[in-house]
């Protein structure tokens, strides 16, 4: 049976495609070395559109109004510029309400685009540009530790990792945060109050790595200007031991948080990347795997949600579970030494 996978790896090659949502201009060059917050592509589009009803304003049939148009597609017009002038002794003119660019003219109407919204696409990870996708973005490669999370607030930043989570089930309280942490990335535990997020914001941290977050805090966390990566889920979950071990042993290193929103269809996930020096290129993470004995797995449902274990046996056929359901299942040895029976669909292979 195909397994769900989450990457928590001490050393791997990381290749990420970074694409604009719309066509734009790629600013990075092939083989360029980029930092996570470097802009690699940008796009701009109109903030708003103005439809000028020329035929209506001049009270003319559409073909007649079209003949009176004084602008064409592509024209940059200032505010109050004439787009059409009527006929007669005292001709009525139709003017632009704001400055803008004509993007359509005809059918008795003129469509202007005004203002500009721009988007800058950042690299999201430190590495080398190995491919440029014209008008869309780049592919970047790096090597290091990789920890994938389950929720991110869409921000990207980099900084030195400070470990405030003395254990995997620690709680990040506002009292643990102080001015010395400005510009740093905090490895916290679970976050259960708004004050913690607000304090982190006031101090000016560069990012938060949390084991879990109370769902009621999601709107606030989404608004924070610094990246937040949640590793395990919602509520009061400890950090899975694989992620905690890897992160806590890398304290004081530079880490990058790409808190990209989890998208099950594109495969985008929030990630913590710890760039590491290498002598030879490590293997890429496996993307497809079937469940098998010996695999390290994380539980995705109670009991022991978030806990790490090892598959010791794939049970044949269907197994009766405590919930009363029957499903394909495995015997999983937990880190405590206890062996539990878990339906395969509730397991995620860590690797």
């Amino acid at each position: 049976m195909l397994a769900s996978l989450v990457h928590i790896l001490p050393l791997t090659t990381i290749v990420r495609e970074r694409l604009l949502p719309v066509s734009g201009r790629v600013t990075a060059r092939l083989n360029q070395k980029v930092g996570p917050t470097d802009v690699v592509a940008e796009a701009a589009w109109a903030r708003e559109h103005i439809l000028i009803d020329v035929a209506g304003a001049l009270r003319l049939p559409i073909p007649a109004a079209d003949r009176l148009l004084r602008c064409k597609v592509g024209d940059e017009l200032p505010a109050s510029a004439e787009v059409a002038v009527g006929a007669g002794l005292f001709p009525k003119s139709v003017r632009t309400p704001k400055d803008g660019r004509v993007i359509a003219a005809g059918g008795g109407q003129v469509l202007l685009e005004t203002g500009e919204t721009s988007l800058q696409l950042r690299a999201g990870l430190p590495g080398n540009v190995i491919e440029v996708i014209p008008n869309r973005g780049v592919v970047i490669k790096t090597a290091g530790a990789l920890i994938q999370g389950v929720w991110g607030n869409g921000r990207i930043d980099t900084g030195v990792l400070v470990n405030l989570a003395e254990k995997a089930d620690g709680v990040l309280a506002p009292s643990r945060l102080d001015e010395t942490m400005r510009g740093q990335i905090i490895l916290g535990g679970l976050c259960k109050d708004a004050e913690t997020l607000q304090t982190a914001s006031e101090i000016g941290v560069r990012g938060l790595i949390l084991s879990s977050l109370f769902p009621s805090l999601l709107p606030l966390a989404a608004r924070m200007r610094f990246p937040i990566v949640v590793t395990d889920g919602f509520g009061s979950l400890p950090m899975n031991s694989a992620a905690y071990r890897l992160l806590s042993t890398n304290a004081k290193r530079d880490v990058t948080l790409n808190a990209e929103a989890y998208d099950r269809y594109t495969g985008a996930r929030p990630e913590v990347i710890i760039p590491l020096p290498i002598t030879s290129e490590p293997a890429l993470p496996r993307e497809v795997e079937a469940y098998a004995p010996g695999q390290t797995v994380r539980m995705r449902r109670p009991p022991s949600m978030g806990a790490i274990g090892t598959i010791v046996l794939l049970r044949p056929g269907l197994t009766l579970l405590t919930s009363g359901l029957r499903a394909p299942a495995a015997d999983v040895r937990m880190e405590t030494g206890e062996t539990v029976i878990v339906p395969l669909v509730n397991l995620e292979v860590v690797g």
Binding site: G235, G267, S323, L325, N346
Partner: protein
């Protein structure tokens, strides 16, 4: 009865769900079409595969292992038609519900006429209406353009105008849609279904023809103000949905090619099957089908040939679960739980389950939450669907659910429940049927597949439905009455085929069973007390034929609407007692 032109052929069907892909084989056994076996696999529409074909091939491979027959060749392509060596199948069909919920914009003239038709139409696919544009919309056209650019709809459904009626207003509303599409990158443009005034078809083509990802036309859903006919437009919208999915998800085009175009949205296929069944088996009562899945909760109903279909992604048990709280409260969900669970635990569950839609409950507490959430989703879905049931549908009381017989139920939450009793109680709590009805479980989730198969072989669905592929849970008697708790409301005599009898006195508030195993039938004589009504009129007695099933005859004397005690401890004890009654 229509006879298929390809009678005798084997048929392989796949259903590509959000969490699971299933492959189902039908073949002729002793002169009749039968459900032979099913294989399944995880769906692969999501990363890392981003290609449904892998899940389809894996499900078919599982089916090969189960049946010992080969359906795929060495390149893992479908062998069709079947070969002299027995490999392959003669026909292939597919249903699809995987993929993100589509964003839809509805366009019409009057809010309570054509826009309502557009809303009903949109509810036949896996879509969420993100904006509506109508005559009462006071936004400027450029505001509509900017709104559409921000929303980036996948689908625009245009209705409005009786045939030969208003055209200028519709044209005015279509202009901003055309302009917004023009401003979008070609690959992001919406697909458009036009189901309005037929006289405008050429104008619509000239306004939108080159500016949409695909432009579809169907007969007017409102040919006159008094008439609504959604069926042809729903059929075209189903086609449009598949076209959109072909662009969004890799592999859908391959499956569509294997199926020679016989691929339908799962919800639409269920609706088609209900239409079909209501024509074949329809009585004065309607027939109802519900399906609670990860993508959506479906409610399809047939009333003497007229049918309704509601696909509600907002009440699905997967990635949309956190949004459920826009429609209900945590307390409302927890009222269905037999265990003491805090609102915090439930809130965490909704968000965590949304992360991992394919996971299943591993503990009793997790199962209790899961079943409570499923009840609330189905309850909300049936309330939404009821708005569109015909006003003249047979009912005991217009405030209650119309009379349905049978009720078919499927989807993960029901077919995977620990016992048929769990499934039945979930259905009774959420739907609250009245009168006498047979409840049938679609444990293999065959209904939509049969709906898709009907397009290839009209004989197959009829024979499979009659072949025992569905599990009868039993006959449910639900008197409509409101009286004091513990007061007698019904006397029942069940006379078995061998002449023996069982009797039961039903009290208000109680849930009782009389055994009647499948496939037996029995005479059921019902004598309501006072004003209780089981379908013969208040206080009137009558006799029906009870169909046997896993639970026999179930008497639900809990009243309609089901009034759960406000005291949490008492309520949980009562729910536990009901679970105990239906088998634990």
């Amino acid at each position: 009865m229509p006879v298929s032109l390809i009678e005798g052929d084997s048929l392989l069907a796949v259903d590509i769900g959000a969490a699971t892909t299933r492959a189902v084989l039908f073949d002729v056994v002793e002169g009749q079409y039968r459900f032979v076996a099913a294989g399944h696999s995880l769906s692969t529409a999501e990363a890392p595969f981003k290609d449904v074909i892998e899940g389809v091939r894996n499900a078919i491979t599982h089916l090969q292992n189960v049946t010992g027959r080969a359906f795929l060749d060495t390149d893992r392509d479908l062998v069709i038609p079947s070969q002299p060596n027995g490999a392959g199948v003669d026909a292939f069909v597919a249903t699809l519900s995987a993929g993100p919920t589509l964003k839809a914009v509805t366009v019409g003239l009057l809010a309570d006429v054509s826009l309502e038709s557009a809303r009903r139409l949109t509810e036949t696919i896996y879509a969420r209406v993100v904006d509506s544009i109508g005559l009462t919309d006071h936004r400027r056209p450029d505001e509509v353009i900017d709104g559409l650019l921000a929303l980036r709809p996948d689908v625009v459904v245009v209705t409005g105008g009786t045939d030969g009626g208003a055209s200028r207003s519709i044209q005015k509303m279509l202009e901003p849609i055309g302009l917004a599409s023009y401003l979008m990158p070609a690959e992001k443009r919406p697909a458009v279904l036009y189901a309005g005034n037929q006289k405008m078809e050429e104008e619509v083509k000239s306004l939108l023809g080159t500016l949409t990802s695909s432009l579809h036309f169907s007969p007017n859903v409102r040919p006159s103000l008094e008439t609504e006919d959604l069926d042809p437009a729903a059929r075209e919208l189903a086609r449009l949905f598949i076209e959109v999915r072909k662009r969004q998800i890799k592999g859908v085009d391959t499956v569509a090619a294997w199926a020679s175009g016989h691929i339908l949205p799962t919800g639409y296929a269920s609706g088609r099957m209900m239409r079909y069944l209501s024509r074949v088996f329809g009585s004065a009562k309607g027939i109802l089908s519900v399906d609670i899945g990860a993508s959506a909760t479906l409610v399809a109903a047939g009333f003497k040939g007229k049918s309704t279909l509601g696909v509600y992604p907002q009440f699905g048990l997967g990635e949309n679960l956190p949004g459920l709280l826009n429609h209900t409260t945590l307390e409302n969900i927890l009222r269905w739980s037999p265990l003491d669970i805090s609102v915090g635990v439930l809130r965490d569950y909704l968000y965590q389950k949304a992360l991992y839609p394919s996971t299943i409950p591993g503990t009793r507490e997790d199962q209790a939450i899961s079943q409570a959430v499923a009840r609330e989703c189905l309850h909300l879905a049936i309330q939404s669907a009821r708005r569109d049931f015909p006003a003249n549908a047979a009912s005991l009381n217009p405030r209650q659910l119309p009379l349905f017989d049978p009720i078919l139920a499927g989807g993960g939450a029901l077919s995977d429940a620990p016992t048929p009793g769990h499934s039945l109680l979930l259905l009774l709590d959420a739907l609250q049927p009245v009168g006498v009805t047979t409840v049938i479980l679609d444990q293999n989730n065959l209904l939509p597949i049969l709906g898709a198969a009907a397009g290839r072989n009209s004989l197959l669905p009829v024979q499979v439905v009659g072949s025992g592929a569905f599990i009868s849970v039993g006959t449910v008697v639900s008197p409509l009455v409101r009286t004091a708790y513990g007061a007698q409301i019904l006397r029942a005599r069940l006379i078995y085929e061998d002449g023996t009898e069982a009797r039961m006195d039903l009290k208000f508030g109680a849930l009782e069973l009389l055994p009647l195993p499948s496939p037996q039938n029995a005479r059921l004589i019902l004598q309501p007390t006072g004003h209780a009504d089981v379908g013969f009129g208040p206080g009137r007695s009558g006799e029906v034929t009870a169909t046997g099933g896993a639970l026999g005859v179930v008497f639900d004397g809990r009243g309609r609407p089901l009034d759960l005690p406000s005291d949490a401890v008492r309520r949980r004890e009562l729910i536990k007692k009901w679970y105990w009654t239906v088998g634990g």
